[in-house]
Each structure stands twice: as structure tokens, then as C-alpha cells.
């Protein structure tokens, strides 16, 4: 009987290991405080490695360069109105949530509290707050008049549920916690998708997926960005931006996006 009991203990332990493997690195069940339940660790210092759209991201693109952005006719018209001479007056328009992750820079990601993940950017000195607690979020959601560059971000750990299967239902399908963070952002101030005045409207909705990758001993953060904007975009504008982990914040170089006139 002792042997049988031992075998049962081993099987239970194995079961836990397999579940862990399904749920991601060190995953706990997706219940309880979001910080404790985090299936992946996004906290730390990250730097964007600009190996895509280098010309538009590292240099000021010329007026009318909206190549790759699915603009409506109205969007093109507005983009063509942008004046390079007035770029310094644009303030933080290019640093709103739909664009800020694409701007070359560094991120500091940390937990503001048990239910709020904070992303700080040194480019433009922006702070994004990703709210996991829907009830608390609804209470603290800014009013419509309080639109902001970073808007209001609702976050959740993405769960991948196996549907159906398992025949007679002896064992219910195991919920599989995916190793990703999903964030939906609304209540945005109208801004720029690119520094050269390529617009998004205040009706834009931003959906993001944050994934962690490990490649040859280096840790990477991948952010898939989906911008929906019925006013200026003909279809979802999708980009994915990668960041490499840095050991510390020694290269953190905050730069303001405010203008001399204080426009923000």
C-alpha cells in the first residue's frame, strides 16, 4: 500500500509539472492578484532594437511618407497637411499609446501595485498604466473629457482554453494559461502614428499582445500592436516591435516630448 501511495504522489507531482509546462514559465493558476498570477515576467529594462522601419523610426520621415499605413482618404488628407516646419510644435502627439512602443527608446516595466503594470518610456518620458482589475478600473476610468496620450489600458493574461474533446468527460479540459499579456486601450487623445503627422483619431482602439521570447541566451519582449481607427484607417494597422532585455537602467536617457511652449 505504501508503494501505491508513493506512486500516487509521484503521479500527482508529474501532473503538476505537466500543467506547469502548459501554463508557461513558473505559472500559477490565473486567479488571485494579477501580479502573483503573472505567467510571464515582463518587469525589467528593455531596449528597442530598430531593425524594422528604420528610416521612419530613426529619422524624421518626410511629409506624405505614410507608406505601409492603411490610411483612409481622410487620413491621407490630414497627413498631407503636416508641416515639417511645425514639427517642434507637435509636442507629444507622436508619443501616444498607439505609437510610443514603436519609437526607438527604452522601457522600464514594473508593477505599480498588485493589479497595475507600469510601462515607462524614456523616449518622450511617457508612463502607461495597464489595469488588470476591471472593477477597480471601471471606478477609476477617466471620464471622456479626460482623454490622454496613453488612454486607459485594460489588461488581462491571455488564457488559451482547449475546447471540446475528452470524450466522456471523465476529466474536464485543462485550462491552458498562455504566456501572453493582452491589453486594450481606449480613451485616447488624437495623435500621430508616425512623427510626420500620420494621424489616428480619438476613436482609435489599441489592442496589444505582449510576449516573452528567449533566443540563444538573450531575453526578448515582443509587442504586437493593432490599431483600429474607423476615421483614419481602412483596416487594422498591425505592427510588432521587439525589445531586448538590458541588465539595468544605466542607459536610460529620458527625453521630454513637451515643446518650449509647454504643449503636451
Amino acid at each position: 500500500m505504501k508503494k501505491l501511495a508513493g506512486a500516487i504522489i509521484c503521479l500527482v507531482a508529474l501532473s503538476a509539472v505537466v500543467l506547469d509546462a502548459q501554463r508557461g514559465r513558473g505559472a500559477a493558476p490565473v486567479s488571485g492578484p494579477p501580479k502573483a498570477a503573472a505567467p510571464i515576467d515582463l518587469a525589467g529594462n528593455w531596449v528597442s532594437v530598430v531593425s524594422e522601419d528604420w528610416l521612419q523610426r530613426m529619422l524624421m520621415p518626410p511629409r506624405g511618407d505614410y507608406a505601409g499605413v492603411p490610411l483612409t482618404l481622410e487620413g491621407r488628407r490630414v497627413a498631407n497637411l503636416w508641416e515639417p516646419a511645425n514639427a517642434s510644435a507637435d509636442g507629444c502627439k507622436a508619443y501616444g499609446a498607439p505609437a510610443v512602443m514603436r519609437i526607438p527608446g527604452r522601457l522600464k516595466i514594473s508593477w505599480e501595485n498588485d493589479t497595475t503594470l507600469k510601462i515607462e518610456t524614456d523616449a518622450g518620458t511617457q508612463t502607461r498604466l495597464l489595469h488588470f482589475d476591471a472593477s477597480a478600473g471601471s471606478a477609476s476610468k477617466p471620464a471622456v473629457a479626460e482623454r490622454s496620450w496613453q488612454g486607459y489600458s485594460q489588461a488581462e493574461w491571455e488564457q488559451l482554453i482547449q475546447r471540446g474533446g475528452q470524450g466522456g468527460g471523465l476529466v474536464p479540459p485543462a485550462p491552458r494559461a498562455g504566456a501572453a499579456l493582452k491589453v486594450v486601450t481606449t480613451k485616447l487623445r488624437a495623435g500621430y502614428l508616425r512623427k510626420n503627422g500620420v494621424p489616428y483619431s480619438e476613436d482609435a482602439v489599441l489592442t496589444e499582445y505582449f510576449d516573452r521570447l528567449s533566443e540563444d541566451g538573450t531575453e526578448w519582449l515582443l509587442v504586437e500592436t493593432i490599431v483600429s481607427d474607423p476615421k483614419y484607417l481602412t483596416q487594422d494597422f498591425i505592427t510588432s516591435t521587439h525589445f531586448r532585455r538590458e541588465p539595468d537602467a544605466s542607459k536610460w536617457m529620458p527625453s521630454a516630448c513637451e515643446t518650449a511652449r509647454g504643449k503636451k
Partner: protein
């Protein structure tokens, strides 16, 4: 109590098995995926120009190679059907289709077939745990891919990639590179994150993330055949073996326009690791005042004098690789040995150094028990003919193998070289008389018909040496280059034995004439070179293009009156040194350049 525990044990066991089963049932990637064309449109569309390497961590060798690239080269016959290489294909302009590959008897998912995006052949990502092929196996434009699930991501490793490009403006990707892809699905979105590692042309891994959306009404398309019915004469009035390229100091005219219209400093246009980081924006402001500042050398792999080819097959292990038809390759006994097998016996091309003949014979025994009947020598080199004596002794010749000892056949110039070496302090003088060829031919061709297959030895004058022979197995469709081609280093030009650079180049062009690829410029006639892996015509084309470009550079410097020392200092082989170069050993880059310089200076 005992029954209760047993019942509990059964439940736990079932639970565990169910969970384990669900662990193996991973996210479904199959379907039609439409590419989104929002990122890198300036690199993925028609606006990409040669010289725009922005955003790519090219090494100095990388940007130099990209700078010499002339887009007219894609119009040469041998390149018109090259598909998008796997290093680029997913980033290309086409949709993709992911199709499950299922093991029929078990129903088990064993892979995904990735189709579309102007990839020539369907690419399979194997999920069944099979190993990657040996380092001596041929490379292809799709490479060899295996995948495994890491949490919610399919991580795919790809090796055996052919020389290719990172973008369609000549940014190179070498065959020494490997690739890792992370396939991540969120609902109807698929992102493929690609890391390309290349010790020659990149100074750090090149990462790109490409987005797709599920498009059930879509069609990946863009496949079929590309072969003789698509290849046309695009470049007329050009000599055979013409390779379009830009000499150092001359650039594609489109680059200057690009630099001006986009306000890109030359340094940034070269790419490189440092240009990818946010702090480089400060450097860009500095460069705004001196846009043509000379770029800093960058690249751990191919900077300065460290740019040498890595060791590949150190000869410590005798190995057998099946090539195709009746032909095998035996490596590790000096130079590569080819073996043709059939009821009549074994025909060897070359015999190795003779130091490990026992292992060579054991290798032959691993695929046949027939005796060696013929040894065909391709050149008077100790590494090829040193094993003649011992291997011939173990064989048998004659019409039915009734004569003891295998026959050794070579061009008569091999005998002349061996005779001339007698008593001199040359490597060849160490070859015993018993290893000398027993049959020679003086003409251009020696025919051998064995094992139901026509074999031809084609004499190639003044190439690696005066006595080179190319061996063609016409039925098996395999060509043995001898020492004319060495996929692991620059060709050895034995000037003491009548070898010339020009003769090597002529011989490689002849080899390209002999070889015939399948569709999409790969496979077909297979090639066994002096050392290294099995190749095909596309590999010969890369080798020929390298030789032609180096020739043109050295000729240009000679015309300008440069001395040998000045030519060496100009490093006309720079971007190829990571593939073929050496600073030490019996055949260095400097020796190769000198041999080329002296030969071309006479012409």
C-alpha cells in the same frame, strides 16, 4: 481501503495522461495566412535600392558584399530561378499557407508544410524530433527545419540554408548561418519572429517580426515550377561566365539618390549593430553635418584580419554520405573520395592520403562487399593519391575482377608530375611508386563504363594543376570536381604543377555547363568538391561568382599599376574570407591572392 486507494490511483493516472495529452496538443497554426504589409514597406516593396542596408546589423563583410551586388546578376541564366531563400521568404511579399503534416498510420502531427511567399519548394517544419542532417549534407533554399513547442510558441530551428539574401537588394546571408523562428498565434493573428545568426555577414543576430492575419478566403499561391521554360536570355552580348557586380569604389547609382532623398548618412546606410539602438539617433544628428563620413569598421566575425573560414570537417572521422544514384562520398581521409557502387564492383575517385585506408575500406564495406575495381585520380596531390597503393591492393580489376589489385587511372600529366617530383623536396615525392597510376590517358577524355553507368574523366588543363580531371557519373548525375573546387576554402592553385587562377575559373565555368539543376535552381546534378559538403550547381555558381569578382578586382588593380603588396593590402577577397579564407595553414588567403595576381598579371 486498498480498493479506494487503487481507485484513486486510477483517477490520478487518467488525469495525468489526459493532461499529458493536452500538453502535446498544441496551438493550431494551420490555415491560410495573409501577410500584412505594414512594416518595412520601404524594404519589402519596389522602393528598395541597393545600398539601403538600414536597420540590418551587417558586418563589414556584409555591407561590402551588399555594395558589390549588381541587380543585373539576377538576370543571369543560373540565377533566374532562384526562389526566395528561407532567410527572407517569410518576410517576402506573399501570403503563406500552413498545412499539417500527419503520420497516416498513427494520426500524429509530425510537421507543418509552409507554402507560398515565392518559396520554390514546399518547406517542411518537422515536429517529430528527427535530427538535422550531417554537416556534409547538401544545403537548399528552404533549409532543414525542426520545431518544438515552448509554452504557446512554436520555436523552429533551421540549418542547411544556401547562400541567400536578407532583402532583395543584395544584403547577403551565408550558408554558415542558422535561423530560429518563433511562431506566435493570438486569435486570428500570427506573428513570426525571425532571428538570423550569421558569423560572416552579420555582427549580431538579425531579428524581424512579421505579422499575418488568418484569411480563410485567401490563397498563398506563388508556387509551381521554375526551370528551362522560364529561363530566358535577359543579358545579351555578354561573355560566358559574365557576373555583374560593382567594383570597390563604384556603387549602384540608386544609392546616391536614396541617400539624398532620405537624408541618410552613408555610415547609417551600411547598417551595423550600433545603428539599431536608440542612442544612434544622437550620432545621426552629428552625421547630419558630414553625411559621407567614412563608416567605422564593425563586425566581430569579419573585421580586420580575423576574417577566416571556420574549420569544417577536420578529417578526424571517416564518414559516408549517400549522394545520389550509385554514388557515395567518403570524407575524412584527406580529400573527399567518391565511390560508385554496383554489381561490377566499386569505382573510387581519389584514394585519400593513405593514412587511414583501413577506415576507408571499412567505410566502403558499410555499403557494399564488392571489391574496388578502379581508382580514378583527379590530380597529382598526396592527399588524393597517397592511398592508391593500399586501396588498389585490396581491390581486383580485369573484366570480371579476376586480376589482383584495382586499376588506377589518371591523366598522363599526373605521372609527369610524380616523375618530376622524385628526389625533390615536394609533398609529392613522398608518394611511393606503388601509388602511381597504372593507366594514363593523354587526351581530353577517358571513358569508363562500370556498373551499368557511363563515367567520364574530363581533363582540365592548367587549373588547380596541369593534371586535373573532372569525373562525371552520367547515370547517377554526380560530378566530382577534384581540387578545382573546394567548398571550404579558396581553390588551391598549385603553380609549381602548372596550375593557374584563370584555368580554375575556366574549369568552374565548365562544371557549371556540365551540371543541370532541377526546378528552382537546386538539386539535379550533385557536386562533390575537394572537401566539405555535397553541393549542386547553385553552389558552383556562388563559387564561380566569387572567383570572377576577385579576378575583376585584381585585374582592375593591376591596370592601375598596383604592386602585389598593394593588392594584398586592398584585400580583394574581403567579404569572402569568412567563408573561404585562412591566415595560417598550407593555403592562405595571401597565397591565393598572390597566385591570382601573378597569373592575371601575365595576361
Amino acid at each position: 481501503m486498498r480498493h479506494s486507494l487503487r481507485a484513486l490511483g486510477s483517477v490520478v493516472l487518467l488525469t495525468t495522461l489526459a493532461v499529458a495529452r493536452s500538453a502535446s496538443a498544441q496551438i493550431d497554426l494551420s490555415g491560410e495566412w495573409g501577410t500584412t504589409f505594414f512594416e518595412d514597406i520601404l524594404h519589402r516593396g519596389a522602393t528598395l535600392v541597393p545600398g539601403d542596408n538600414t536597420g540590418v546589423p551587417l558586418s563589414e563583410a556584409g555591407w561590402r558584399k551588399a555594395e558589390s551586388w549588381d541587380e543585373a546578376v539576377v538576370g543571369t541564366h543560373e540565377r533566374q530561378c532562384i526562389p526566395h531563400p528561407v532567410q527572407y521568404a517569410v518576410r517576402g511579399p506573399g501570403n503563406i499557407r500552413m498545412v499539417k503534416v500527419v503520420d497516416e498510420p498513427t494520426g500524429r502531427l509530425i510537421g507543418y508544410s509552409l507554402q507560398g511567399s515565392y518559396v520554390g519548394h514546399f518547406r517542411t517544419i518537422w515536429l517529430d524530433g528527427r535530427p538535422h542532417p550531417s554537416d556534409l549534407a547538401p544545403h537548399s533554399y528552404t533549409g532543414f527545419s525542426t520545431g518544438e513547442w515552448v509554452h504557446n510558441t512554436l520555436v523552429v530551428k533551421t540549418t542547411h540554408m544556401k547562400m541567400g539574401y536578407l532583402d532583395r537588394n543584395g544584403m547577403p546571408s551565408s550558408e554558415l548561418g542558422t535561423m530560429t523562428e518563433h511562431f506566435i498565434r493570438h486569435g486570428d493573428h500570427l506573428t513570426v519572429v525571425t532571428f538570423i545568426h550569421d558569423p560572416v555577414f552579420l555582427s549580431e543576430p538579425f531579428v524581424r517580426s512579421t505579422d499575418f492575419v488568418l484569411n480563410s478566403a485567401g490563397n498563398a499561391g506563388a508556387w509551381g515550377s521554375c526551370g528551362p521554360d522560364q529561363i530566358v536570355d535577359e543579358l545579351v552580348d555578354r561573355p560566358a561566365g559574365y557576373v555583374p557586380h560593382h567594383l570597390p569604389g563604384t556603387v549602384d547609382p540608386g544609392r546616391e539618390t536614396f541617400l539624398k532623398t532620405r537624408n541618410v548618412p552613408l555610415e547609417a546606410a551600411h547598417g551595423g549593430s550600433k545603428t539599431l539602438l536608440p542612442e544612434y539617433i544622437g550620432r545621426l544628428r552629428e552625421l547630419a553635418n558630414s553625411p559621407n563620413a567614412a563608416p567605422d569598421a564593425e563586425g566581430l566575425a569579419c573585421g580586420g584580419n580575423r576574417c577566416v573560414a571556420p574549420p569544417r570537417n577536420d578529417g578526424s572521422d571517416v564518414r559516408v554520405t549517400k549522394v545520389q544514384g550509385r554514388v557515395y562520398m567518403i570524407s575524412g581521409a584527406g580529400g573527399n573520395i567518391a565511390a560508385q557502387v554496383g554489381d561490377d564492383g566499386v569505382v573510387l575517385v581519389n584514394a585519400g592520403t593513405g593514412k587511414v585506408t583501413d577506415k576507408v575500406l571499412a567505410a566502403i564495406r558499410s555499403f557494399t562487399d564488392k571489391p574496388v575495381r578502379f581508382v580514378l585520380d583527379t590530380a597529382p596531390d598526396a592527399e588524393n593519391i597517397g592511398g592508391n597503393e593500399s586501396i588498389a591492393k585490396a581491390g581486383a580489376s580485369g573484366g570480371r575482377g579476376q586480376v589482383a589489385g584495382a586499376a588506377v587511372i589518371a591523366h598522363e600529366s599526373v605521372i609527369r608530375a610524380l616523375s618530376a617530383a622524385k628526389g625533390k623536396n615536394l609533398a609529392l615525392s613522398s608518394v611511393s611508386a606503388a601509388s602511381w597510376p597504372t593507366i594514363t590517358f593523354a587526351g581530353e577524355i577517358k571513358d569508363v563504363q562500370t556498373n551499368g553507368e557511363a563515367i567520364q574523366m574530363l581533363h582540365q588543363p592548367a587549373a588547380h594543376s596541369a593534371g586535373d580531371s573532372i569525373v562525371v557519373f552520367r547515370g547517377s548525375d554526380v560530378v566530382v570536381t577534384g581540387n578545382i573546387v573546394d567548398f571550404t576554402r579558396y581553390p588551391v592553385i598549385d603553380t609549381a604543377q602548372g596550375g593557374t587562377f584563370s584555368g580554375v575559373l575556366a574549369a568552374v565555368n565548365r562544371l557549371i555547363d556540365i551540371t543541370v539543376p532541377h526546378d528552382w535552381q537546386e538539386g539535379g546534378t550533385m557536386v562533390i568538391s575537394a572537401q566539405g559538403r555535397v553541393g549542386d550547381e547553385a553552389d558552383l555558381v556562388e563559387y564561380r561568382d566569387m572567383l570572377t569578382i576577385v579576378r575583376d578586382r585584381i585585374q582592375d588593380l593591376i591596370k592601375k599599376g598596383r604592386t602585389l603588396e598593394q593588392v594584398q593590402a586592398a584585400r580583394p577577397t574581403f567579404e569572402y574570407d569568412g567563408l573561404f579564407g585562412a591566415t595560417t595553414g598550407p593555403w592562405t588567403t595571401a597565397m591565393f591572392v598572390e597566385a591570382a595576381y601573378r597569373d592575371l598579371g601575365r595576361r
